[in-house]
């Protein structure tokens, strides 16, 4: 029911209508709830309406957080295996 996915706005049409692209699938949706969305923006689409904008910077920050975890765990592993290799 809550299926909603990020899709990119590729075309704005008359009124509130826009065409979004999700992995090659193009669909007409309403931008009435996110009138500030521009071509190139990612919007979260639910039941034919964009309900919010996706902030690319924040998405990258979240992904970077996972990457930090990766680095931290690698460092921890290096410590526990000891400096014998050096």
């Amino acid at each position: 029911m809550c299926l909603a996915l990020p899709a990119q706005v590729v075309e704005k049409r008359d009124g509130d209508e826009a065409i979004v692209n999700l992995g090659g699938v193009r669909k007409a949706v309403s931008l009435a709830l996110v009138p500030e969305a521009e071509i190139g923006d990612y919007v979260i689409v639910h039941v034919g309406h964009a309900i919010g904008l996706l902030d690319r910077d924040e998405a990258e920050k979240t992904l970077a957080l996972f990457a930090e975890l990766d680095a931290a765990q690698a460092a921890e592993a290096a410590l526990t295996t000891g400096g014998a290799a050096t």
Binding site: M1, C2, P6, A32, I51, G52, L69
Partner: protein, 386 residues
């Protein structure tokens, strides 16, 4: 696909799992409720539960709109189609929810009711415009995510002067349901579930923002972490909840900052407020009557309110006696505690609402988790051929 696949990386998921194992104290239990069916689905589908230590327990909440829709409401929609000759439009997953007399919307359609599945509320309005000689009712369900599109369509119908369109409004409110679970007013009857925190809804929070959860953190001292619906989102949220519990904190944290802000989508809130007002009370499947937990159309839009237009009166209908959906939605029982699970009640033939939607706790466990219940035993050594 952009901003989807990146949040499904298996290697990072394993690392997050290891981090949760490392930080969760072995001598205490962490009970977290995922309010949304979307999270329930993600936990089951991607096997997230397998990556969690045994002391971190996930409890399903009532956040699937299909699961909490009471039988009496579906009966109203069915009667509109079968007895009043209306065209009833609704979202696909509402179609199969069991109702009274062995019916569901899809079975009522087979009996001749003009019931149509729509992708969007706007499609329901288009149906009304295409059939000016018929009454068209949009059977509107869902939390705050689906509500703004319904509100928009009501305003549009008024603007366009569409006279044969109305809405049977069953939109419900998330904060009211969370309050109800925390207050557990009927704990004596159903048992109370102890909770250490919540994974807050993803898409609902895009609309309402993160601020409405502050009372749960401050007033009830329950940590809330809002999370997206991808597996890494859910695991990161669990890690953040474990940390809050370990540090004795109870705050609202936002893992889903790429889409959720503190104030939410103000334009969407405005259109909702213009069209709807809070009902005094509303019956939820599994939770019973919850005060101030649902919406109805404002007086100004009375012409588009199907309940007034057709003079409908809600009649509560009890669930199937053996169905445990109520207790499962409260987090008191698990799908496998239900006698009907997996034998009488399956996704092909759901008895209870939790088996209908793929986001329901029972359907999620049936589809992705039920083989986990079977213990793995080493195969007996094969007798060597002489």
């Amino acid at each position: 696909m952009k901003y989807i696949d990146e949040f499904r990386d298996g290697a990072i998921a394993r690392q997050l799992g290891e981090r949760i194992h490392a930080e969760a104290h072995p001598d205490r239990v962490y009970r977290f409720m995922e309010f949304c069916g979307g999270h329930t689905h993600a936990l089951s589908r991607y096997g997230v539960t397998e990556l969690l230590p045994p002391q971190v327990q996930m409890i399903h909440g009532p956040g699937c709109p299909v699961c909490v829709l009471p039988i009496g409401r579906i009966d109203l929609a069915i009667r509109l189609a079968l007895e009043r000759g209306a065209i009833v439009c609704t979202y696909g997953d509402t179609m199969r929810v069991p109702a009274s007399d062995g019916l569901s919307l899809i079975k009522a359609k087979a009996r001749g009711g003009d019931i149509r599945m729509v992708y969007s509320a706007a499609d329901a309005l288009k149906t009304a415009q295409a059939h000016p000689d018929r009454e068209v009712v949009f059977f509107a369900i869902g939390f705050e995510t689906t509500t703004p599109p319904t509100a928009l369509v009501v305003q549009q119908a008024e603007r366009l002067g569409v006279k044969n369109f109305s809405v049977l409004c069953c939109h419900v409110l998330t904060p009211a349901a969370v309050t109800h679970i925390l207050a557990a007013p009927d704990a004596e009857q159903h048992g109370k579930v102890e909770l250490d925190g919540f994974i807050g809804p993803a898409h609902v929070s895009i609309v309402i923002g993160s601020d409405p959860y502050v009372p749960f953190a401050e007033g009830w001292h329950k940590p809330v972490v809002i999370a997206g619906f991808e597996p890494l989102d859910v695991m990161q949220a669990i890690l953040m909840l474990v940390r809050q519990v370990n540090e004795g904190r109870a705050e609202v944290e936002n893992e889903f900052t790429r889409a959720v802000t503190p104030k939410g989508n103000v334009a969407a809130q405005k259109v909702m407020d213009e069209v709807f007002e809070v009902r005094d009370s509303f019956e939820w499947r599994g939770l019973g009557v919850v005060p101030h937990s649902a919406l109805k159309l404002r007086e100004r839009y009375a012409a588009f309110d199907a309940e007034r237009r057709f003079d409908l009166h809600y009649q509560p209908v009890p669930d199937h006696k053996a169905c445990e959906c109520g207790a499962i939605l409260r987090g008191v029982k698990r799908p496998t505690d239900c006698k009907l699970f997996g034998n009488v009640c399956t996704p092909d033939n759901p008895v209870g609402s939790c088996m209908v939607s793929s986001e329901g706790a029972c359907a999620a466990h049936y589809s992705y988790g039920r083989f986990r219940d079977i213990p793995i035993v080493p195969a007996a050594p094969q007798a060597r051929a002489a």
